[in-house]
Structure formats: C-alpha cells, structure tokens
Amino acid sequence: MTDITTGNTITFQGPPAVSGGAEARSRGYWAGVARRLRHDRFTLFFLALALLIILGALIAPWLGLPDPFQTSMARRLKPIGFKGHLLGTDELGRDLFSRLVYGGRTSLLLGIVPVVLATLIGGLLGVVAGFFGRGVNMLIMRVMDVFYAFPSVLLAVAISGTLGGGILNGLIALTLVFIPSLCRIAESATVQIRALDYIEAARATGASNWSIIRTHVIGNVLTPVVVYASSLISVAVLLGAGLSFLGLGVEPPTPDWGQMLSSLRQSIYVQPLICALPGLAIFLTSLSFNFISDGLRRAMDVKA
C-alpha cells in the first residue's frame, strides 16, 4: 500500500524536474559514456574503421578471397587493380588483399591479446602493491622498475629473441613489456584512492580488505587503467609488427603485416605502392586505436 502511494506521489510531484532527472540517472555511468561517444563523430569514424578491420580478420575465411598462400611465378609484383587481384600481388605472386586481410588476424592478435593480459596482470599487481603498501609495494614496484629500465622495443626484442620466434612467444614478450606501465598506473591510482574516506567508511561497515579491493579500489582504478590500456593497443600493433619485421614474431608463410613489410621491402624500387600497403594497414589500425582511445578518455571523463 505504502509503495503504491509513494509511487503515486513521485509521478505526481513534478514530472518535468523529477522524472527527467530520474531517467537520466537510471541510465548509469556506462550509458553516459555511450551517449557521449554517440555524439563524437570523429571517434565513431575510427571506431567503424577498426571494427571493419577486426571483422575482416575474424571472418576472413568466409569472404571468398583468393588463397593467401597460393604462389604464382607468372604473377609476381602485379600492380593494384590487376585482374583478379584487387590490390595486386606480392613478390611470390600471392594475392595481396587476401594476405592483408588474413594478416590482420595475427597483427590484431598481437595488438589486443597482450594488452588485455597485461591489463589484468599488471593492473592487479598494481592494485595489490598500492593497497597494501610497504613491503609488498616495494617488492612489486622494484621488480617493475627493472623491466622499466629497458626501452620497450629493446625489451620485446630481447624477450622474444630469447624465447625464439612464433606467435605465442611474441604474445608473451609483448605482455611482459606492457605489464610494468599498467602496473604503475594502477598503483598510483590505488595509492590516491586508499587514503580517501570511502575506503575507511567501507571498513567501518565491516568490509574486508579483499571486498574493499574488489569493489571500491577496482571500481575507481578501472577508468584510468582502461583508458591507458586502450592507448597501448596501437603501440602493441606497432611493436608486434616490428617483431615480425625482424623475423621474431610471426614466421612465414603465415601472413602478418610486419613480416609482409619486411619481405616486400626488397621490391621497393619495382612496386613502391604495393610495398607501402602493409605499412598503410599498420598505420591505419594503429591510428584508429589511438583515436578511439582518445575518444574513450573524453567520454569516460565525467567532469568534462
């Protein structure tokens, strides 16, 4: 009964002010982020581009593309628009468009998976280090500092060089490269949050350390970490391509943009345009993830 009456008074009291506010409120944080993203055409364009590249990579086998492994001595280094080959052929006569689409699979794998893994591992380590402080913090952060001491490209090359080639080792190398920076972001955000009243307030309601970490710390650390991680995807795409370019990531004949760039490089005076295509793919992918990351940061910033 009381529920019904209170319900009535709410709708009765002032539809313009109260219900409007309530509607905006009930949408929540992520709905607000989505709403702000919808008005950001620039970011939307690059989001669409990135989705197109990802989608192409995902459904490549069902696109009816020419076989990316089919070589042909007669059709080497044909220009863009050559019959049957939308973007021409590479130095072994393989269809370049097909190889670019298939190459997106490994390039994106190397771009996204290490960042996701590093966000989980590095983020968690950072939160633990920041929350417990003292010895724990010392231990974790000094280990991270050791990794930090190396330039990221050098570290990636060193790790994957030691482990040997192959996609899996490339993934491990890139993950290790990204853990320290994400750990540091999570740690500094956690240290700031730890001193705030709501952590003490949660403790005063009887919450345990782990439940405080699970809800209050991770809830508040998530935004800066996710924004930073999204900016790392473009770096990871570049680094992954770099590893393959050096022959450390993906091994031939598996198509990969970095490795394609490396082998086509020798033909730069014969077909400069064709040689630039894998580079263009890397550039566009990296660029779109960068702009998406920027857009995400703007959309996730509630105060703006």
Binding site: I10, G28, G206, A207
Partner: protein, 347 residues
Amino acid sequence: MRNLQTTSVAPVAKDMPLAGKIPVVSPLARVKDLNVQFRSRDATVHAVNGVSFDLMPRDVLCIIGESGSGKSVTMKSMMRLLPPKKTVMTGEIEVNGHKVLDLSERQIRHLRGAEISMIFQEPMTALDPVYTIGRQITEAIRAHEPVTTSEARRRALELLELVRIPSAVSRLDAYPHELSGGLRQRAMIAVALSCKPKLLLADEPTTALDATVQIQVLVLLRQLQDELGMGVIFVTHDIGVAAQIADKIAVMYAGEIVEFGSARDVLVNPAHPYTRAMLASTVHGQARDADLPVIPGDPADLRRLVAGCRFAPRCGVSKSLCLERAPSLVGVAAHHDAACHLINSLT
C-alpha cells in the same frame, strides 16, 4: 543472591529509589584508561592519554575539543580503525560486551557496521563516486547478512525513507555527485544504519554542511537515535552543535578528558578553566564591537607532553602546583567531574 542483598542494604539505594524495581542498566560502551600512541621513526605522538568514560544505552555523548585533542582518535579506536602497525593502544574498550582491543581482525569486522557504525565528516568523499547510493547501502547490508539482492534493495529503500530522503525510489539509483550535500550526508547515515547498530559514532558529521542543513541533520540524528534506541558518540568542535544534541558532554584537551558531565552542567556551570575559556570565546550575543576573548598560546605538543596539567601553560589561573602534578578527574557536583587542582578555589 549476594549481589541482591548488598544492593538492598547498601546506602546507595537511597539515592536511587528505583534501584530495586528496575534492573540496573549496564553501560553500552565502556572505555577504561585508554592510551593511544602513534609511533613513527621520528617521534611518538601521544594522541590519547588515559581516557575513561561510560556510555549508557540510548545516551548521546558529545566529545568536544580543539583539533588534535584526541577526540576523533578516541572514537576511531573504539572501532579499531586506526592503522594497526603504527598505533599502540592500551587500556580497555568494551562495546556491548565485546572487548574491542582483544578481538581478532575477523571478529572486529563482524562488529563494525553491525553493532558499531560510523558516519564521517565529508559526505563527498565518504561515499564511493562510482557506485549508486543503493549499491553502497546493499553492500553494507550484505557484508553482514546473507540476503537476496531484491531483499537488500527493499531494505535500502526503507533506509532511505528512514533518513527522510525525498523520492527515495529514484535516489536509490543516484550517484553521490547527483545529490546535494545534505542528501549525501543522509545517504551516508543510511549506510551507517543499514544493520541497525547499537552504537553510532559520528565524526563531525555536520561540519561540512550549511548552517540550515546542519540543523536538519542534527534533528534527524536525534530522531533516529530515539527511534532505533542507539547510543551515539558525537565528535564536534562546535559547542552549538553539542548543545543541540548531547545528553552528556566530555571536553577533551591534549588527549585527556578534562571535564565530563551532563550537557546542561558542562555548558551552564563549566568547572574546568579550559571549558570556561572555550565557552567564553564563542559568539553568544556580546556587544558588536567587542573582541572575542581567545585562549592564548598553542595547542599542546603531543610529541612532548609536559609534566603536570597539560593546560597549565595556557591557563589563566594556573599555580605552581599545576605545573608539577597532573590533576585527575574529581567530582564537581553529582555526575559532573573536572580535572583541575583549583576546582574548589574557582567559583
């Protein structure tokens, strides 16, 4: 048996004519000779020095004192919220029969929120900005009781109505930044009351609010205290607030209780020179152009405590005795104590 006999024979029974008829009420909280020190590499800060008091059920005790007088520390130690590695606590704290200082970390967690709860000074920072009010209340409920999500939500709604938040249904899904300061403070009170605590600790809960909202929150707290039958310890440095809400008042200076008594006694007949000086330095209808009297000197340095009475260096009436020997609490009148050597010579 023996106990009954002694009470009926003892002369105390004359003072309390009802003692035989109603059961003797035992205190809800009892603090005995509490000492709290913060140790760091550079110095040891003696934040609380030998504080003792009893809080009866349904009583509102106000602890007043200036910044650094140990009032918040006393309160936080009752919930053991102080950083365990840096803090040394001795003495006894008993809340609702639990010896707080002897409990394990797990046991104290069960006590927090369920039997002792706390509301904080800054409603903006004491609520987590990324969760809705409803979520934060249900979280507090579910920390202690295994209830379903919908049941927890129903109770959260009840709590918001209990603290008189208008259109509570929509406020349940509101984020803290969408509420005004007063509403936020009410929401925080709702979180603190979520498990019907027997003892509510309030750390200057109205200091950050507008004067008008301040009164509303005080009235609300007093009503809730009455409805739920809670004991409340209220820390403030605002004597006006204390006068509004307190049954009893404890005045703290340099980590010690210097005066304790009913709110009326302490505010109308202050016995300790510090309490008098403090009351004299408030605005209460003096002439417009008259300067307010101030207490000279600086607050006591808690790293290096002086021998004797800690207020003596700033006290207007101190004698040489005050600098030599520390006074202990002595009765001024019935249930009204003050720690001063000169109580009998002061009028």
